[in-house]
Each structure stands twice: as C-alpha cells, then as structure tokens.
Subunit: 337 residues, 2 copies
C-alpha cells in the first residue's frame, strides 16, 4: 500500500509557491500493528495557519487536518467505515492509532466524527470542526459578547469570520463585517444576517464605523491584523474585548516597512482593552462540545456556511495560494477524487 504526500522544502517567503513543495511523493505504508488502522483521506483542510510553521525543520510533511475514512482496522474503537478528523497532513493514506506521537503537537489530532446525518462530512473540517470551534471558543471565551453590543469581524467572509458574525447575531449583537470584495459583503448581509458589511479596500473604515457603530465597538474578532485592526481598535469602547485569531494581512509580507501599523498601546491603555491571541488547540479538550454546538445551530438553520472546494489531491497548493489572495468564500478544502 502506498500513500502520496506533500513535503514542504523550505520556509515560505512571501506568497507560498509550488516550488516550496514536493508534490505527491510516494511513501510505502507498513502493515497494520495491533491498535492501528488505515485511513483514506477524503477532504484536506486548507487554512491560513499552515503558512507559519516556524518551529519545524525542513523538509517536513505538510501539516493539516483531514477528513478520512477507516478502510482497514485492528482497533475496535475505529472499525472500518468510521469517519475521523485526523491531523495527518496533506497525504492520501495514513496508518495511525490513538496517541500517535507523530501528530501529538497538533491537538486535537484525532477524533471520530459525530453523526452528521445528511450533512456532508466535509463540515468536520469547517463549521463543525476546527473552524467552527475557532469561531465559537474565540468569540465566547475572549470577546464575551452581550446582547445589544456591537461586534466587528475582520476577514468576515472567511471560514472563521463568517461563522463568528452569525454566532454574534445569535447572541443578540449588532454585527459589522469587513471583507475584500463587494460580493462577499453582499453575502454577509443578505444571506448570513450581518447588520453591516463593508469592503475594506474601498471604504474609509474609520468613517464607516462612526456611522454604523455610533455607540462604539465593544468586541472585535480580528482575523487580519495590521492597519485595519488599528482603525477598528481606535473605535472601541472602554473595556472592549479583542480576540486575535489571525493576521492574514501580514503573513506573506516580506517588506519590514509594510509590517508596520499605527501603534496600539495608547488605545489599549486609554480604553482599557483586553486582547487575547489564541489558537484553537488551546480548547482541544472541549472539541466535541464545540462541534456539537455548531452542528445543532446548523441543523436548526441558524448558521449558514459556504465551502470553496478544489478538486484533486494535486491541486492543493492552488487552494492554499488562493487563500491568501482572498479567492475563497467560507472554508477552503481539497476533495480527493
């Protein structure tokens, strides 16, 4: 049995390039030992965080979650046919077992998917997986929105951002999203129920917030970093809460001068802001709680989602590059045919 996998050859500089990878290296898989199972990847996850794996040495196997199906098993807890979320990286087949040390740095690295019924299993990487949990725990644990408060979301048409705004609406908040195209903004307001959405590339964000958040901003869920965030934070109220989930505006930047933005500290002090950066693996032991909560909202029709699916194992890098160009709406995935 052979698996194909992506290997990252060197640190990404600027936008990721095909030449940063070796694509489709073949690897022979060992026979199953006791407790092990063989999983066949069906969907690969494409996420911004895959851009900055600073602590690994090169070359390394590309990281990432996948939805896979158990096709051979010597583990009674993972019989053939079981759907799993596994942090196996960008590879087609994986021989693994619970407590596999190879994946232990990326909690939660393996769990059985709850029964999604007639919903697609791909949700296990998106709204009912890491993405949904990032939105749910980040918003509830760090922004702690109260009914009537104003919540701003940047990167609002991304997988996490679009989910965050909808949860904030369920909490009774006034929700404002910033995204990078007019079409995305229309989707946010017309389909997802955001109160307001603006194209950060064409709108004066400060004036926009003065108009549409006249009582100030109480919570800010930040996916982008940089000047957009400095402007949003300048419009926050005293004791405002910021969850910093990403900084996609800067990940590919190589010019140090462009890595500068208006200093935040005067705002942080004057408004007594609380800012929490987080990675969702911090909430690994609450994974299923988050998945089930999001699954419930989706079944009730309270949260909508989109997926941007690229077909074919060999096209994963295109999906990855597209993420930083803003090509995706909602969760970016690769379907292995």
């Amino acid at each position: 049995m052979k698996a194909k996998k992506y290997v990252v050859l060197n640190p990404f500089v600027g936008e990721p390039k095909k030449s940063d990878f070796t694509i489709g290296i073949e690897e022979s898989l060992p026979a199953l030992q006791e407790n092990e199972f063989l999983a066949e990847a069906v969907y690969l996850s494409v996420d911004p965080y895959q851009r900055w794996q600073r602590d690994l040495s090169y070359p390394y196997d590309m990281i990432g979650g996948q939805i896979a199906r158990v096709i051979e098993s010597r583990n009674d807890a993972y019989p053939v046919g079981t759907w799993v979320m596994g942090h196996f990286g960008w590879r087609t087949y994986t021989v693994t077992k619970p407590d596999d040390e190879r994946f232990s740095a990326k909690l939660p690295y393996l769990y059985r998917l709850p029964d999604f019924g007639d919903l697609p299993v791909s949700l296990g990487l998106g709204v009912c997986g890491r993405v949904g949990n990032t939105a749910y725990f980040g918003l509830t644990e760090f922004c702690k929105p109260e009914p009537g408060e104003t919540v701003v979301v940047s990167g609002a048409a991304g997988a996490v951002g679009s989910h965050v705004g909808q949860i904030a609406k369920l909490f009774g908040c006034r929700v404002i999203g910033f995204a990078g195209t007019d079409e995305k903004c229309e989707w946010l307001t017309k389909e997802l129920g955001f109160d307001f959405a603006a194209n950060y590339k064409t709108v004066d964000l400060g004036k926009y917030l003065d108009q549409n958040a006249p009582k100030g901003v109480d919570c800010y869920f930040d996916n982008v970093g940089g000047e957009v965030s400095s402007i949003v934070m300048s419009k926050m109220n005293e004791f405002g809460r910021v969850a910093v989930c990403g900084s996609i505006s800067t990940y590919n930047e190589t010019n140090p001068d462009k890595m500068k933005a208006t200093v935040l500290q005067p705002l942080i002090v004057g408004k007594q802001l609380s800012i929490h950066g987080f990675l969702v693996n911090r909430f690994a032991d609450r994974t299923i709680e988050g998945v089930l909560q999001n699954l419930k909202w989706i079944r009730e029709g309270k949260i909508k989602y989109r997926e941007t699916i690229v077909h074919g194992f060999e096209n994963a890098i295109d999906a990855f590059i597209g993420l930083f160009r803003g090509n995706n709406t909602g969760k970016s995935l690769v379907k292995i045919n």
Copy 2:
C-alpha cells in the same frame, strides 16, 4: 480666601507648552458649608496620563492628584490636620467634601492618608498612592508573574516602572528593565536589584533579550508602547502576559508615520498572548489595600524609591514637560512652598 489654579486652554499638540496653560488664575473660595472642609495643597502630582484628557472640553482646570492638609473643617471625618489624597487638580486650596461631584470621574478622588509615620507624606502620590497601586495591581492582576519567570519592564526608571521591577523581584522573577540613560540603568541594577537593565537608545533590544532572557519573556509591563514593545513582544513565550500601563513614546508624537510600529497581531496569535490595558482607577475600591501593601514593603526596606521634586507652584509645567523628556527618575512631584 483665594486659591490659585492652572487652567488648560487647548488640546496639547506635541510636547506640552507653557502657552497651553493659564498659570495661577485666582479663584475665590466659598465659605464652608456643612460637611465641607478646606484643604491646602502641599504636593501636586505630575503624571503622564495628565497629557491625554481627550473627553474634556476646553478650557478646563488641570487635573491631577495632590497631597493636602485640612486647615478648616465642618466634617468630623476630616478634622483640621488630616492629610488627604485628593484628585483636586493643580490648585493651591480646595473646598470640598466626600462625594464631591466635581471630582467623581477620577476615582479614587479622596481618601485620608494612612499613617506614614516618619516617611514623607509625598509618598501618598507615589509609591504609597496611585503610582504604587498602578504597579502593584497592574503586575499582579494582569502579568500574574510566577517565581522563576522573566519579567520585562519598559520605562523602567519611571515611577511606576521602577516599582514594578522591585515587586517582580519580590515575587522571585528574573527582571529586565529598559530605560533611557545609562545612569538610570545603573540605578535599576545597583540600587533596586533589577537583574539586568539596558539603555533602549543605544542597545539592540532584540539581541539583548536573546542574551539576557534566554528562556524568553513571560511577562511584559509596558509603559512606553511603540517599537520597543513590538521587539519585547517578539521575544515572549507562549501564553505570555502583557500589562499595558502607558505609551509615553507616542503621547507627544504628531507625525502619523512615526506613530507606526511593527504589527503585533502575528505575535499575539502565534504566542497566544494576553494583553490588558488598564488605568488604576479600575481598582479604586482596593486603593487602601494597595497603599498598605506598598507601605509595608517600604517600611521593610524591600522597595526603594526616588522622587524628582520641583519646588514652587509656578514651576509645575516645567516638571510636566520634563516627564516626557525623561528628566525624572522615580515619581515627579511639585512641592508648593
């Protein structure tokens, strides 16, 4: 009976100037009503936060704390001879009473000084007052330092910074201070017990931290903001805690380009940092707790302090300007002769 006072005429632009004030306006004081007392200012407080009173309309009476002595009284709780800390502003005499609405925005706006014994009452504005409480509550509530952790303090030779570093030493931490002259650094290490101190104007801070904080920075108490802080935060450990107390590097800046610093969000996410901006009035109801704790440490010789005292009511602006030029070491005060 007449009082003299400072009036602020217009918003400060850049460095505060004498022409921003009217100095020594005379005001007639009313006769005491029941419950009121007359307090004579002995020390005025000079603090960075007095620079940015954005919410007031102009002209306004200069704000600030003072140590005053009750010299006439119709309030049994404040008999003649009582020493008080009052947030009366820069003025020589004040007729007031508990719950005086004029000062209610600036908690804690009035309390009787605890018995300082043979220590000077001026400490009631410094290490045993607002300054000491800023250091104590900011460090313990937001940085939460543990024994063995590394704590960095910027603006370390200022009133708050020098106090913070000493408390962190009492907590068993490795303490590194940044200040603006070699003399200040020497004071921090030789007299106050900081483990390391460096002149941020002449040292490569990143390299300095690599050398002297080889295990990374766990806590950062930020008094300055700007690029110094971006560098410190780039050296922090996962789950590092930042207390943002001030941003003195930017208060007088009028050039928007110089108001930029390296974007913090990638660090905030990747290291899962927690950042809290705060003003000490948030802990107003714990004022005496903080004062007594600091008083105890000072009596035990565990915390040392300096005061930079300018003599004469008419020289307060010089003290204020000097604060932003880094002329003071420790607490800046005006003694009214």
